[in-house]
Amino acid sequence: MQPRRPLPPTPLLWLLLSLALPAAAVAPWDRERTDVPARPPAAGLPRGILQLAARAALHFFNFRASSPSALRVLAAVQEGRAWVDPQEGCEVNLVFSTERYNPEEEGEESLGKCSARVFFKNQKPRPAINVTCMGLTEKIKRQERDNLLYKQVKQLKNPLNVISIPDSHGHIDPSLRPLWDLAFLGSSYVMWEKTTQFLNYYLVQISRVKQLKTNDDGIDFDFTVLLHEFSTQEIIPCQIHLFWYPGKPLKVQYHCQELQSPEEASGIDEASAMAPTELSNF
C-alpha cells in the first residue's frame, strides 16, 4: 500500500472513505454509500471508479511491458481510495490483484498483485499512472514466450484470409491467437490514452487486418480494432499501426474514429466502420 501523499492546499469537496473489498464471492458496491455522509456523491466521482482506475493502470502497465505473451487483466480490487477536487482532478490510489490474460497451463493461475496511483487531470483522458506489480512471470519465461509468439506470427501466411478476430461466435483460431495478443497489446496503449474518470474501454474485436509484415527486424502490424466504450455503449473503431520486436519497447500509432453527429450520418445502415486516414511510416 502506497504511503498517503500530503493533501494539496486547495480544499477538497468530497472525500470517499477507503473501501475494504475482501476478495469474496459477494461484492456489493452499495457499501460505498453507507460510509459516506448524507451528501450526494461528487459529480466528478462516478461509481466504479476504482475498477476503472485499475484497468487504466493495467493498460498502461501492459503497454510499458511490451510483452504480448505476458498481458495482465484485472482480477479484483482489494483496497482503494479516491479523491476529487474540481479544480485539480481526480486521484485514485489502489491495490488490486491480476491474472494472466492468456493462461496456458491448467492451474497456472499466476495471480499477481499491483499497487497504483492514477491521476485524472481535470476530467481529461490519458491519466498519469504510477504502477508496480509483483508476483508476475519471470523475465526469462516471458522472453521465451515472446520469442515463440514472434516465430508463430512469422509462420502466418500472407495475405491473411481472415475477416474478424474473434468471429461472431467468439471463436479465435489458435493460429491467430498471437495476432489477437499483439492487437490487445497495441490497443492497451490506445485504451490508456482514451480513458477518463468517466469513460473506459474494452477491446471487442479486430475488425480488419490491413497489413502484416514479419521480417528479421520485427513485426509490422496494421489493423483496425473495435473498442467498446463505457458508459456510452458506443463502439469506437480505431486503426492501429504497431511495430514490435521481442524485448524491445512497442511502437504504436493510431487513429480512432469520431462519433457521428446526426448531420454527418449518411443514412445507410452501419456496417462495421473503419478508420479513414493513412498513417505515416515510422
Partner: protein, 434 residues
Amino acid sequence: MQGPLRGGTGPGLSPVDRRTLLICTFILAVAWGQMNFTGDQVLRILAKDEKQLSLLRDLEGLKPQKVDFWRGPARPSLPVDMRVPFSELRDVKAYLKSHGLAYSVMIKDIQVLLDEERDAMARSRRLERSTSSFSYSSYHTLEEIYSWIDNFVAEHSNLVSKINIGNSFENRSILVLKFSTGGSNRKAIWIDTGIHSREWITHATGIWISNKIVSAYGKDHLLKKILNAMDIFIEIVTNPDGFAFTHSMNRLWRKNKSSQPGIACIGVDLNRNWKTGFGGNGSNRNPCSETYRGPAPQSEPEVAAIVEFITGHGNFKALISIHSYSQMVMYPYGYSLEPVPNYEELFNLAKDTVKALHKVHGIQYTFGSISATLSSGITVDWAYDSGIKYAFSFELRDTGQYGFLLPASQIVPTAQETWMAIRTIMKHTLNHPY
C-alpha cells in the same frame, strides 16, 4: 443487386456466354432466395471536396443502379463505402480514375466473406440435424430460434404455450413463452433476454433456461412449488429486428431498427425508452447514439408490446431483465440515486442471488443499484414503479475479455449459473407474496 449486364470480355467465355451464365446464376439465386455476390467488391473513396462528392452522388443516381452505398457521400472528410457488383467494376473504376477519385479496395470479394459466415453456421446446423436435437451450446439465427419455439411448445404443450404480444418495427412477431400448470391469471414472473441484440449470450441463456424449466419440473421440488402457485413468462428475443441485423450486417448492433423521417441514424435503445425516468441523464437525445432514448416514452413497438402485456395482465410479482456483459445483479433505480422503499430487502436478495450463482462455477458477480451505471428510462425502473417489487437487471458473463463475443463454449455454464440466480429470486417471490 446485379446491375445491367455489359459486354465485358471475361477470360475464356464470349460475351454472350458470360452474359447467359450470369443471367442464369442470377435467376437461380433469386429463385433460391439467396443473392450471390461473387466478385462484388466494396470500395472506399475519400472525396477531396464537394465537387468530388457530387460526382459520387451522380453514381448513386444512375438508373439502373450501378452501385450500392454502405456509407453514403456525406462530407469530404468522411469516407464513402460502396459495393460495386462484379459486372460494374470495370466501368465504375474507370469512372473514378477519370475523375481523379482515389479509392482503395476494402473487400475484394464479398461472396468469400458471406461463404465463410455461412459455412461456420452450417457447421453447427449440420450437427443439430444429425442428432435431431437443437444445440443448446451454439448460437442461433432468429429463424432457428423461432422454429425451436414452435417445436418446444409442441413437445411440452402441457406446460408451455406461445403468445404473440405484438410486432416489431420491421413487422416481426414478438413472442413470449408461458409456463403454467393452470389456474387463471396467477401471480407471475417475467424474464426477458435480448433487449440489446448484440448480447447473444442472453438469448442463448433464455433458451437453455426454458428447456431447464420443463426438464427439471418433475425433479426440482422448489420449481414445482413455484409453478403450482405462479406462472413464468419468458421473452427470448425482445429485439427481433436488431437480432436479425446482428446476423446479417452488424454483429455489434444494440438498438432496434426503427427510423424516423428526416433523421439519418437508425435505432432506439430499447432500454432507455421506458416511461419511468425517461429523458434523464442516463440516456441520449442524439439519434446516432447507442443510448438514444427515442422520440417519446414507449414510442418503440417492442417496448409498448411489453408494457401493454404486463399492464393488461396486472399480476406480475417479479421481473428480471437480462443483459451482458459485466457480471452484475442490480436492482432499481437506475435513473435516480434515491433508494427504493424496500432497498434493504433487495440488497439482501441480490446478495443471496450472487452467492447462489457463485456456487455453480465459482464466477464472481457484483451487486448493487443500477444507479451505479447511470441509466434512465430503463425496463427495471418502470417495472418497479408499476408495482413489481422484485425487479432485477442481470449482466451476464464476462468482464470484458470477450465481452459481447462470448465463445459458445460458455453458453451452458453461463446458463446454469444464471438459472440458479433466477431460481433464488423466484423462491423469494414465492415466499413473500404481496
